[in-house]
């Protein structure tokens, strides 16, 4: 019975992504009524932001005060600065492309010119506070 928790233990808790950022507060539990199991939770991301549905496969741990995720919302990347391996600021992330399985495919970066530059995820070394590329960026 120690492993059993109730909706009270899940709802109203802070949701933390894999970077340690607070994503929001869990608001709803989603249950498959045919299979009778939980499929995910809805997260209230705050004022003027849409709710975020997080599938059960992305939840790492239901903690005492928080819910930990094993991923991060890909929308967080929008607005980050993109820095190449030589420290040159390439631009700012404008839009992102990801697959149906929520895997990041590429990012579209607005540099100094008008055109958007597409950078494939394989060229990204790190996504944290900003995006760091693996190599020097050459236009």
């Amino acid at each position: 019975m120690d492993n059993i928790i109730t909706s009270d233990d899940i709802l109203g808790k802070h949701v933390i992504d894999e970077h340690g950022d607070v994503v929001g507060v869990s608001q709803k539990l989603h249950i498959d009524k045919n299979k009778k199991n939980i499929v995910g939770i809805s997260v209230d991301q705050g004022f003027m932001k849409p709710d975020l549905f997080v599938g059960l496969e992305y939840i790492e741990q239901f903690g005492v005060d928080t819910i930990f995720l094993n991923t991060f919302p890909k929308d967080k990347v929008i607005g980050m600065a993109v820095i190449d391996a030589y420290g040159r600021e390439v631009g700012t992330v404008k839009t992102i492309n990801f697959s149906s399985k929520n895997v990041l495919i590429s990012i579209n970066v607005k540099g100094q010119g008008k055109n958007l530059i597409t950078i494939h995820s394989s060229k990204i070394r790190e996504i944290g506070y900003n995006v760091i590329l693996k190599e020097e960026f050459k236009e």
Binding site: G20, D21, G63, F68, G87, E126, G128, N130, V131
Partner: protein, 158 residues
């Protein structure tokens, strides 16, 4: 181009085959942004420090901050005339971050950190849940650094 023009009328004194137009003036690095391994901007290069004719490290300052940080060469991943990228996330920046324990409890916020000598390794991490609560600490091996906050490998009660 201005750099090439300035080295045209230079008499070179060296026993080695030197091409000085490919070298960088130290002044180009001063004032450049410094980023951690995660891409967090932590300040700008205030000074380059040399020892025995080699770059020993950089002194980093924040725009309006008093405290400066010295990063030895071993912690610098890339030093270019665009910016500097460190190979670490400095643990001195962890102060004020939220601490979660292994059970998912909010254990408090980091109040101070003691390091192993001057390295970037944690000896002890001190945290506190509120002004009137007792300060607690854990040893470095019990700490997991997430990018924005900290998770412990142990459970904290009380």
């Amino acid at each position: 181009m201005a750099e090439t023009e300035s080295v045209v009328n230079v008499e070179i004194m060296s026993t080695k085959n030197v091409e000085i137009s490919y070298s960088h003036d130290i002044r180009k690095y001063i004032g450049k942004k410094v980023f951690t391994k995660d891409g967090e901007e932590i300040g700008y290069v205030k000074r380059l420090l040399f020892r025995d004719f080699e770059c020993y490290g950089i002194l980093v300052s924040k725009r309006f901050g008093r405290k400066k940080h010295f990063f030895a060469r071993e912690y610098i991943d890339k030093l270019t005339n665009h910016s500097v990228i460190l190979s670490i996330v400095p643990i001195t920046l962890l102060k004020g971050k939220t601490v979660f324990d292994s059970a998912g409890r909010i254990a408090g916020k980091v109040t101070r950190i003691t390091r192993l000598k001057n390295s970037n390794e944690i000896d002890s991490l001190y945290f506190k849940k509120g002004i009137f609560r007792r300060e607690q600490f854990v040893k470095g091996p019990d700490v997991t650094l997430m990018k924005k906050n900290i998770k412990l490998k142990v459970e904290i009660r009380g």
